[in-house]
């Protein structure tokens, strides 16, 4: 192969096209995958936020209905108005296991202001008489209207309602409160979407000792020291690595934030996070959303391979076609001219150039044939040659 031949140059140009083509496809596919995975992550965050909100609303409605039903029960109403704790416990305790099975894990009665202490804890009846002094308590005492929302207690995060309880004369006799652990929401969300979720709580709003104690009670590993600013309150995946987060929960934007894509073994995930606020509007935690996009990634890789293969095949066929055309239209005819010219110089004056077409090379063939005839005519008139 001659490195300066047209054939080599054309081949090099086509190889350059192939490289650029394949590189372009790879870059395009990568860009497309990046865009789509970002879109999937953003969609997962939006979907999770909506679902979380729906579940919150549904559970608040459920607890409100239970509270309203209790308020209409004259025996319960009278027992609470009389501050007969034993009677109230007798009347309500049978209901608690059923409510707990429905997710209502916290149920309390509070005395009215100004002292506003816990009168009865259905989920821990021996403990009472303590004042909680939370946003919820202050708000309901101020407005005498139902207050709903999330509340981060010392050791956990729950969606709660607190509503006033009235006696037969319409006087506020205290408040009833119910709550559901937000951690259980994520398991419902996983069963509905297939994505994994993690509920992160800001340590600033929590009590270290209470978290350690509750970890013992719930027989969970004390993960307080796993992350500097937050604890993972609950998660739907056994993997800790997929919930890695280096940022500050307080700065997560309201609409959520798409985090980096990452690979764990053969699986590819996109991740996102959105803030979870308490009833007072503080960003006390965040919901981590992890979506497995392995199937999408594999489909993209398959498409990428097919496209690369098709490009290579198309350009290889194109190369063959171009080189075949060049050989037929140019190289073979130029070779013929070279052979005839050589033979004429060697003494074969009868060799002729056949003009095969009127294209550019054909015009050159015609010109060269005319030149050959003139040359042969000159030679035939050279005296030295005539004598031989």
């Amino acid at each position: 192969m001659q490195w300066n031949s047209i054939r080599t140059k054309v081949l090099a140009a086509l190889l350059a096209c192939l490289t650029v083509g394949v590189g372009g496809i790879l870059a395009l596919m990568h860009y497309s995958f990046e865009r789509n995975s970002q879109a999937l992550a953003a969609e997962s965050i939006t979907g999770a936020q909506k679902l979380f909100s729906i579940l919150e609303t549904r559970e608040i409605s459920k607890m409100t209905a239970v509270g309203d039903t209790l308020a209409m029960n004259p025996q319960v109403r009278d027992a609470f108005a009389a501050k007969d704790r034993a009677r109230l416990l007798d009347l309500t305790a049978p209901l608690y296991p059923q409510l707990k099975s429905e997710g209502i894990t916290n149920w309390m009665f509070h005395t009215p202001e100004p002292d506003m202490v816990v009168f009865l804890r259905l989920h821990n009846s021996p403990k009472f008489g303590d004042a909680l002094n939370r946003f919820f308590d202050k708000q309901v005492a101020r407005t005498h209207a139902m207050v709903t929302g999330n509340e981060l207690a010392k050791a956990g995060f729950a969606v709660r309602i607190i509503q006033p309880f009235y006696d037969a004369q319409g006087v506020v006799t205290g408040y009833v409160e119910m709550g559901e652990e937000l951690g259980q929401f994520i398991h419902t969300m996983k069963s509905q979407t297939g994505s994994d979720y993690g509920l992160l709580l800001n340590k600033k709003f929590m009590d270290r000792q209470f978290w350690a104690d509750s970890s013992k009670v719930w027989k969970r590993r004390d993960n307080w020291d796993d992350n500097p600013g937050f604890v993972v309150a609950d998660k739907t995946s056994a993997s800790d690595s997929i919930f890695r987060f280096q940022g500050n929960l307080a700065t997560v934007p309201e609409q959520g934030e798409v985090l980096e894509r990452f690979q764990d073994g053969d699986s590819v995930f996109v991740r996102g996070i959105f803030p979870v606020r308490d009833a007072a509007g503080n960003t006390v935690g965040a919901m981590f959303v992890v979506r497995d996009i392995s199937s999408f990634y594999l489909a993209m890789r398959r498409t990428q391979r097919v496209l690369v293969l098709l490009t290579i095949v198309a350009l290889a066929l194109g190369t063959i076609a171009v080189l075949t055309l060049l050989t037929r239209l140019i190289f073979r005819r130029l070779d013929h001219i070279v052979v005839v010219a050589t033979r004429v110089v060697g003494g074969d004056y009868k060799s002729e150039i056949h003009v095969s077409s009127d294209d550019e090379v054909g015009q050159f063939e015609q010109l060269f044939e005319q030149f050959r005839r003139v040359f042969v005519d000159v030679l035939e008139h050279v005296p030295e040659l005539q004598q031989k």
Partner: protein, 66 residues
């Protein structure tokens, strides 16, 4: 007999011995040397430059050392 003519005879002898296409080989040598072999006769005067070119052409085309 000139040296050029002697070289021409050696080339023709080689072509005949190897049963090569005479027109093609002579053409290639003539083009490389810049001299038509048909013009070389016994009394063609020697020109050192042409002798050198013809020897080199014979070497390149026929691998004939002269």
């Amino acid at each position: 007999m000139s040296q050029l003519y002697e070289i021409k005879l050696r080339i023709e002898a080689k072509i005949q011995a190897d049963k090569l296409d005479a027109n093609e080989v002579k053409g290639k040598i003539g083009l490389r040397a810049g001299k038509l072999l048909a013009f070389i006769s016994a009394d063609t005067p020697d020109d050192p430059a042409t002798v050198t070119k013809l020897k080199q052409a014979a070497k390149d085309v026929l691998n004939l050392a002269l």
